[in-house]
């Protein structure tokens, strides 16, 4: 390819974008929306999943004791099991106080309340995978009314998040198809606007791919612009969210470091360019008649 050819092709694409500024803007907005939704899904699900993964690895469970139970006996029964590392007794008043602290209620109100909470034992297992077995074992001990563990909730949430992920993927696919259609329609309009030129190109012996190329470049340019736009919005939004989370939920860490975020940004741009290319391939195949 000569320098002259390269200049010719790029100029053709750029002229086309400029002449159809409004349609071009619409195409870019639309692809950006798709990339943004997909990006948000990725960020959200991966973060929540990772956090839940950490919860699922916890080794703690809580054993509620009956009113009449002998805490020491239950403790002894638990510690007799190899899988139990240690136990700690928490009386019902302490439980209530912790609840008040967690909820930010006024502690003075405590004494007016007939404490509904039981005494309990906090049990730690040696390994996280032992938790369900220990739960099973603990719930059979006389004087134990209920057993709670973080894993339980975490595992349920993990199942839920898998559903969310599937929904996200389906939604992304639908939006991707919409983005392709928008690019294809935009390119189709520019093909129509330049049909005289195309006709002359065909007459003087331009190859099919040479005629298609400026339109493909145009599509890729739309995709690139959309990718950059949505990457900026995604990273900006993520940084803001990160700050908020750090302030309000100090126990929850956002999962991504700068390298992963850079990768996500590049991925967004590349995905945008693929949409642009795909849409213009479709349009040029359909609307530039092969000679």
């Amino acid at each position: 390819m000569t320098l002259n050819t390269l200049e010719f092709l790029l100029l053709e694409s750029w002229t086309s974008i400029r002449r159809n500024a409004i349609i071009s803007a619409a195409a870019i907005t639309n692809i950006s929306a798709v990339l943004l939704v997909a990006g948000i899904f990725v960020l959200l699900t991966v973060n929540v999943e990772r956090w839940l993964g950490v919860q699922a690895k916890k080794t703690t469970l809580t054993v509620d004791l009956a009113e009449t139970a002998d805490a020491a006996k239950v403790e002894a029964a638990l510690l007799a099991d190899q899988r139990v590392a240690k136990t700690r007794f928490v009386p019902k008043d302490e439980n209530l106080r912790q609840l008040f602290v967690r909820q930010g209620w006024d502690l003075k109100a405590m004494k007016y309340l007939d404490n509904p909470l039981p005494d309990c034992l906090i049990v730690e297992t040696t390994r996280p995978e032992d938790v369900p077995d220990v739960v099973e074992m603990a719930s059979k001990i006389k004087g134990v009314t209920a057993v709670h563990y973080a894993q339980e909730v975490a595992l349920q949430l993990l199942r839920l998040i898998r559903g969310v992920k599937l929904t996200g993927m389906v939604l992304s696919v639908i939006l991707a198809l919409a983005a392709l259609a928008v690019v294809a329609t935009t390119i189709r309009l520019t093909i129509y606007a330049r049909r005289r030129e195309i006709r002359i190109m065909q007459l003087v012996g331009a190859t099919h791919w040479f005629i298609r190329l400026p339109f493909l470049v145009e599509g890729i340019m739309y995709g690139f612009a959309s990718g950059v736009l949505s990457a900026m919005l995604l990273l900006g939004g993520y940084a803001y969210l990160d700050e908020q989370v750090e302030r309000t939920l100090p126990f929850m860490q956002l999962a991504f470091g700068p390298e992963v975020l850079a990768l996500l940004a590049v991925g967004t741009v590349v995905a945008g360019m693929m949409f642009g290319l795909g849409g213009s391939l479709l349009a040029t195949r359909e609307y530039i008649r092969e000679v």
Binding site: M1, T2, L3, F8, R196, R199, Q202, L203, G205
Partner: protein, 228 residues
């Protein structure tokens, strides 16, 4: 250079545009194809630049069987066959020399090649001094000369002209035909479809008369529009 062997074209609606035409036009020859509108003149030219394929028969251009040519090879045929139309088909937002250079741009020519060939082509049609004008600043005759320059700039072996004088005054028409005849004298095969009897009668070159898709008369010696 151009050889049609028993060619028939039937359009999907059943119209027989060209019927059993056999025709041979030599290198450097100038030939008129005449006949009333709808007689099949344009169809004949379209066969040569592979805009259409014949229903039966063979079309040979520059020793290539055009009928067997795959679509991907058609652009390379078109680089050997220049085409000129009644409506000029210039790009209004490009200058004269850009319009001519366009034919080089799209076949991947270098800038140097463009700067060498475009002035030569414009010189050939007598428009060297108008290269920076836009098409709308030119007369119809000048516009047609630009389109001839564009068709020539790739040095084609065959030049086809479909009613090139259809939009022009008699005087200008004669100028255009003389340019086309000059081109033939330089060794390019030129085929002009027309129903402009004045230029045909005046130039006295080969006349192929078409009627209802058939060759009614082929006067190789140089005839008039409706010599018997």
């Amino acid at each position: 250079m151009v050889y049609l062997d028993n060619v028939t074209v039937v359009y999907p609606n059943g119209t027989r545009a060209v019927a059993e035409v056999t025709l041979h036009i030599e290198r450097g020859e100038f030939a008129f194809v005449v006949g009333p509108s709808g007689s099949g003149k344009s169809t004949l030219l379209e066969l040569i630049y592979r805009e259409i394929r014949p229903t039966s028969g063979r079309v040979i251009v520059a020793s290539q069987d055009v009928t067997a040519l795959p679509s991907s090879r058609v652009p390379f045929l078109r680089r050997m066959v220049g085409v000129v139309f009644q409506d000029f088909r210039l790009l209004p937002e490009r200058k004269v020399w850009e319009n001519v250079g366009f034919a080089l741009d799209v076949v991947g020519a270098s800038r140097r090649e463009k700067f060498r060939k475009v002035p030569v082509a414009l010189e050939l049609v007598g428009l060297a001094n108008k290269s920076d004008a836009y098409p709308h600043e030119l007369s119809a005759g000048e516009q047609q000369r630009v389109s001839i320059a564009r068709a020539l700039v790739n040095s084609p072996q065959v030049l086809l002209a479909d009613e090139p004088t259809g939009n022009l005054d008699p005087e200008i028409s004669w100028e255009i035909v003389q340019i086309l005849a000059d081109i033939a004298d330089r060794g390019t095969t030129v085929i002009v479809a027309t129903h402009d009897r004045e230029i045909v009668d005046r130039l006295r070159r080969r006349v192929i008369s078409i009627s209802n898709g058939r060759i009614a008369r082929d006067d190789r010696s140089g005839g008039g529009y409706d010599d018997a």
